[in-house]
């Protein structure tokens, strides 16, 4: 490779996340920590040298251009993909590399089971871990699971639709169901992959309110990938911007993205954060 083709974009300056000066260490390991994380598919480098620490209870929103690796990072957190290089730690331990009940997930589509009623979609999460052989409960245990499921469903606003099949629900309702499904497991973190990307703006606003309410109640650690910047700013306590810092015009796949901005957010929950006035205005008007 010739020298001129290694055109390196200078790192942008403001609130740049720097791996060499991690946030104030408290002695015990961070809840989630990525150390020099790389993800490559053959020649395609998606993520490179990604370093980040996230504390328990943070609401991280992940934004960036298409194909910049934010969904890849989410899939790695979920255990669906293994990093090519580097470490991804949960409380100092390597994350289990297959999905498990400690990590709830909501996808943009196909998050709910079409063959189960709304109630059973949620009760399923209570039945599966308890019954390793049949995957279902009977009698009093089943009634109890259904009661708990109904409770959570009422909380997310689906109390009236317990016996419907998901195909009879609107897109927003289906996402409510998917969230209830994830929450009933009481996971340690909730991973959201553009959960509201396919919804109308009005419905989306309701979903934001619901999500914030649930987050405040459960204090879950949330990672949410979104294409909607304002959504990222208004929901999170921390905005992570994924972008490529190096770019080779001859070989667009040669360099991967990393987290270029790491912005602490949300005045009520992080009072000290100084937001640019324009940004604050935008959030205030929502």
């Amino acid at each position: 490779m010739t020298l001129y083709s290694q055109h390196i974009v200078p790192l942008s300056e403001p609130v740049m996340h720097d791996s060499s000066t991690p946030p104030a260490s408290t002695g015990k390991p961070a809840f989630i920590e990525a150390r020099n994380l790389w993800q490559e598919y053959g020649d395609l480098v998606v993520l490179e040298r990604l370093n980040i620490k996230v504390n328990e209870g943070e609401f991280c929103t992940l934004v960036g251009a298409s194909g910049c690796g934010k969904s890849t990072f989410l899939r790695m957190l979920l255990g669906q993909e293994r990093p090519s290089r580097g470490e991804l730690l949960l409380g100092g331990q390597a994350l289990p590399n297959e999905p498990d009940p400690s990590r709830g997930v909501v996808f943009q589509r196909y998050s709910v089971f079409p063959h189960l009623s709304v109630l059973d979609n949620v009760a399923l999460g209570l039945e599966l871990p308890k019954s390793k052989l049949l995957g279902r409960l009977f009698g009093a245990a089943k009634r109890e699971a259904r009661e708990r499921a109904a409770e959570i469903l009422t909380k997310v606003g689906l109390g009236h639709a317990l016996n419907k099949y998901p195909s009879a629900l609107s897109g927003g309702m289906q996402q409510r169901l998917a969230i209830a499904q994830a929450l009933v497991m009481q996971p340690r973190m909730l991973l959201l992959d553009e959960p509201f990307g396919a919804l109308d703006p009005g419905i989306r606003k309701d979903m934001h309110a619901l999500l914030l309410e649930l987050w405040q109640e459960t204090r879950l650690t949330v990672f949410m990938v979104t294409h909607d910047l304002s959504e990222g700013f208004s929901l999170g306590t921390r905005l992570l911007v994924f972008d490529k810092v190096r770019h080779d015009p001859q070989a667009p796949n040669a360099y991967g993205a990393r987290i270029t901005y790491d912005i602490p957010l949300n005045e009520t929950r992080r009072a000290q954060v100084q937001l640019p006035s324009e940004l604050a205005e935008r959030i205030a008007t929502r």
């Binding site: 009940p101 998050s111 089971f113 063959h115 399923l124 049949l134 279902r136 998901p166 195909s167 499904q181």
Partner: protein
Amino acid sequence: MRLINRHPDRSGRLLLILLPFALLLFVYFSASTSRLAENPNDKLLPSASQMVDAIDRLAFTEDKRSGQYLFWQDTASSLQRLGIGLGIAALLGLVLGIAAGSVPLFGAPLSPLLTVLSMIPPLAILPILFIVFGLGELSKVMLIVIGITPCIARDIEQRAREIPGELLIKAQTLGANSWTLILRLVLPQLMPRLLISLRLMLGSAWLFLIAAEAIASTDGLGYRIFLVRRYMAMDVILPYVVWITLLAWLMDLGLRQVLRLCFPWHEGGKA
């Protein structure tokens, strides 16, 4: 208005459904009448009354030799073979298909094998079945099983692969292990597809049944048709063919009703 945008209304639809059948019957009976007018002993296109006589003889009169009602005896034997064959094939196809489609470690050896097996013309190995399983019921049932199991299994495998990966991930985050994931997620989602697959395979199953009965049997609908062929007894053959068609259609209808009643979520389209 363009042709593709014109839809028949309710009564018009009924008329259009009946029209081709009425036409067929009309063509047949007018041809039959004209032939019989020329030669009352003509056997090629029997009249309705001749066919009714034949059915009366076979279905409602005891056979002098065996003391049985041949028509019903034939029907029972054929349906039994078909039912057992279809049942075994459905079960085998479902198990093999899910194993190949949902568990990559099983799919690696199974999938190519099923593809190759489904290419074997089942009728070509009918002699082998007769040699191995004898001329009894087993070889006939085996022909149906061998004929349609690979096709059902391949179909189910394909559908199992089409289940969105998101759902499989989600089930794992809900605490499913491999077995319960298949039991509570994959199996129920594929049951409707199995019924559809069976509906599509009904025709083949009947084909294999008739073929096996024609070659080596002592009763059965296919046996009777090929037996009376020697006497050119079209008055028996034609009602038998109509009866077989009716049975096949009823089975198809039954499967469709089961699909509608047991899997109400299937038709509403998926999320």
